[in-house]
């Protein structure tokens, strides 16, 4: 990884829920940020800069909300930035914050991502009619379902594999008190019998709409070494983007995702992600994206993703757990969901994941986010140990 070492020294998040009526947007982000500061053993005054991210402003109806949130995040008199890269934003916000430390510009950066979906309606927010463009009015599920059908046809995948992911991630979420959905009675039959929304996606194959925020404190090596708590060291971080539409673009297995994974693995010395990582927190908003991203991220050969899922390898007790926190299928504060992945990966290598802690062998974990029409990717690999010099 280019630049100076970066450590995650504090992580905080809200309890995700459908509508958090107890707090304002400011209260939501401050709750997560305060928890991260407490975890790091720091106060607001210790922070050099704040980097905030969220998905489209229309989800809450506040334009450039970082301006209004400056006070709540203790940013007055300090630098503050606002990142927006669609669904990948939680990941890219983490990376922008980490680069401030890697560049040697700052030593203690607070980064926060949030969405308060109950303030508006995301499907509406995603589907505003625009001049000279065909109206989509489909939301994310309507956009991704045809890509999933293309995957099923291409990989010759049995139709129940998506439902397996829907069950697996919801059962994993039972061990995560911060997860939005807790569905102890869920099984394959419940998912199969839930309402068909966009073939092949049934209601329970999709992520919930959540109010929630995630925060991390990132620190330089000098600062992190002096703190008593565990540190997740950043071993690699990468972002890639490609245009939404052009002839012969592979939207099922996008090049930008493959390139991004290759880059981050090279930085982190990962040769075989299934063997070299202890777990992965991957942006899976619709159940079928687990097998699709297993292939895109090189955890198996192309066409074999569904077999890995079906074998149980990605379950919490499998050899490569995916989304032991319950994942996006269990909590989806959209703009924060990517940072939740990055932060949950950090918690695993800090051995701070509580009841959903995975056993550490290599001490490395992947955080992943994607957005737009499967075209924006951000990833990092974090480790229990400092990267080899």
């Amino acid at each position: 990884m280019a630049g100076k070492l970066v450590g995650v020294v504090g992580v905080g998040q809200t309890k995700h829920r459908a509508a958090n009526k107890e707090v304002s947007i400011a209260g939501l982000v401050r709750t997560a940020a305060k928890e991260a500061l407490d975890d790091a053993g720091m106060t607001w005054a210790d922070i050099d800069a704040v980097v905030i991210g969220k998905a489209p402003d229309m989800f809450e109806g506040v334009a450039m909300p970082e301006l209004y949130l400056a006070d709540a995040l203790g940013a007055a008199g300090k630098p503050m930035m606002r990142v927006h890269t669609a669904g990948s934003v939680g990941g890219s916000t983490s990376i922008v914050a980490a680069k401030l430390v890697a560049a040697g510009v700052h030593e203690r950066v607070l980064t926060v991502a949030f969405e308060k979906q109950s303030e508006s309606n995301a499907t509406w927010g995603l589907s505003v009619p625009m001049p000279f463009a065909p109206p989509l009015v489909a939301g994310a599920g309507g956009y991704f379902a045809p890509l999933i059908r293309a995957y099923i046809a291409r990989a010759k995948a049995p139709r129940h594999v998506g439902h397996l992911v829907a069950v697996k991630d919801r059962l994993a979420a039972l061990r995560n008190p911060k997860a939005h959905l807790h569905m102890p009675d869920i099984d394959l039959k419940t998912v199969e019998e839930s309402l068909l929304l966009w073939d092949p996606l049934r209601y329970l194959d999709t992520c919930p709409s959540s109010d929630g925020a995630m925060a991390m404190v990132l620190a330089s090596e000098r600062v992190a070494d002096e703190l008593p708590g565990p540190v997740a060291w950043v071993h690699g971080m990468a972002m890639r983007s490609e245009p939404t539409m052009f002839a012969r673009r592979d939207q099922v297995n996008p090049q930008a995702g493959r390139d991004c994974a290759k880059d981050v693995y090279a930085q982190a010395g990962i040769r075989d992600p299934r063997a070299d990582l202890d777990c992965a927190e991957v942006y899976v908003p619709f159940s079928w994206y687990e097998p699709m991203w297993l292939e895109n991220l090189g955890f198996c050969a192309e066409g074999d993703g569904w077999k890995l899922t079906e074998s149980g390898a990605t379950a919490p007790d499998g050899d490569i757990p995916w989304n032991p926190s319950g994942g996006v299928l269990s909590s989806n504060p959209i703009g924060a969901s990517g940072m939740v992945r990055f932060g949950e990966a950090a918690q695993q290598v800090r051995e701070r994941a509580g009841d959903y802690q995975v056993p550490l062998r290599t001490g490395k974990a992947l955080g992943h986010a994607y957005g737009g029409g499967s075209q924006f990717f951000s990833m990092w690999v974090v480790g229990r140990d400092k990267p080899a010099a």
Binding site: L67, H84, A238, F246, G373
Partner: protein
């Protein structure tokens, strides 16, 4: 810090772009900036843009913007929902890590398609302020009045800023408001938002701008006189206009101090002043004296391509340094109601 410079700048603005979409406006400026940089498009290490969804009235303004930069094979890319001056800051940070040696930065927006002044009221606190729909001009007028009352300046001082801006803009092809006007004629116009008149308020503008940054030897090899970024700093203030001293810009002062603006002479300054009084207030916060040419391009009162207005300030200073017309300059960008957030960039040429 690693030496990083602006090596090229391209910019287009019009009062109202009737036919071209945002993407079609980005294409020529990106093409021009990249060509002028002497760096092949596929060799540029990082791309970052700034835009605002609320200008186009739909989510993901930046997504189609990608079509203008030719993001294939996939590129390292990011976006800020801020003026593109902050996109330049993000790119500068990426260059500081050593990960990349060059970056393309662009900003764009068509503010003519909606009611900009009303739209910007959505930047305010959604629970306590936005329900009152204070337009950005209403809030600026409060600041202008507070500033005039505190300093003893008057509307003639504001008109002098506006008149100089319009005269300077005569030489700027991208200006949408220019003219050889005199102060008395301006003061004969009606006050629209006390104490502001129309000439004190930046004109509605559609536009796009692009800058290419390069580090060290690459910058020297592609540009005869790169505009080196000696410092770039930004700070934010509390949000509510009611808890700030509106007669000064504390965040600009802090950023200027951190950037070392006062450490040397300032030949030229381009300030993101969307209202006449903001230029006076910012010049004070930056500690600029009479030897500095302020907004020689005409500044935002001559053209205000929202979301690239701040980036254009950096580009205008860099252009003068590269042309040998200035040696040390200051560019300023702002965001939020009543100058809530401010960025200061010190640029320098080397002989």
């Amino acid at each position: 810090m690693r030496d990083v410079a602006v090596v090229s700048f391209a910019y287009q603005a019009v009062a109202k772009e009737p036919t071209r979409s945002e993407v079609e406006m980005i294409v020529p400026v990106v093409r021009e900036a990249v060509a002028a940089s002497g760096i092949d498009r596929t060799e540029i290490g990082f791309t970052c843009s700034g835009s605002l969804d609320y200008l186009q009235g739909g989510p993901f303004a930046f997504v189609s913007g990608l079509d203008a930069v030719g993001a294939w094979p996939p590129i390292r890319e990011s976006h800020v929902e801020m003026d593109a001056a902050w996109a330049l800051y993000e790119a500068w940070v990426a260059l500081q890590t050593g990960e990349v040696d060059s970056a393309l930065v662009y900003g764009f927006g068509k503010s003519s398609t909606g009611d900009l002044h009303e739209i910007m009221s959505l930047q305010t606190d959604p629970y306590y302020l936005a329900p009152l729909w204070p337009s950005m001009v209403d809030l600026a007028a409060l600041q202008a009045r507070a500033y005039l009352d505190a300093t003893g300046r008057d509307e003639k001082d504001l008109a002098e800023v506006a008149a100089r801006s319009q005269r300077n803009a005569l030489a700027n092809p991208a200006a949408v408001r220019r003219g050889d006007v005199d102060v008395d004629a301006l003061l004969a116009a009606p006050v629209t938002h006390d104490p502001l008149r129309d000439h004190d308020i930046a004109p509605i503008t559609d536009g796009a701008a692009a800058v290419v940054l390069a580090a060290g030897d690459l910058a020297r090899s592609v540009c005869a006189r790169p505009a080196w970024i000696r410092a770039i700093e930004h700070r934010i203030e509390p949000h509510s206009p009611g808890v700030r001293d509106l007669t000064r810009s504390e965040s600009t002062r802090l950023a200027a101090q951190a950037a070392g603006v006062g450490d040397g002479p300032v030949d030229v300054a381009e300030l993101h002043a969307q209202f006449s009084h903001e230029e006076l207030l910012l010049a004070e916060a930056l500690g600029l004296g009479g030897a500095t040419a302020v907004n020689p391009s005409g500044g935002p009162l001559a053209a205000n391509p929202v979301m690239s207005t701040g980036l254009v300030r950096i580009g205008e200073v860099a252009r003068r340094i590269t042309a040998g017309e200035a040696t040390r300059g200051v560019a300023h960008a702002s965001s939020g109601p009543c100058l809530q957030q401010n960025l200061v960039c010190v640029l320098e040429g080397q002989d």
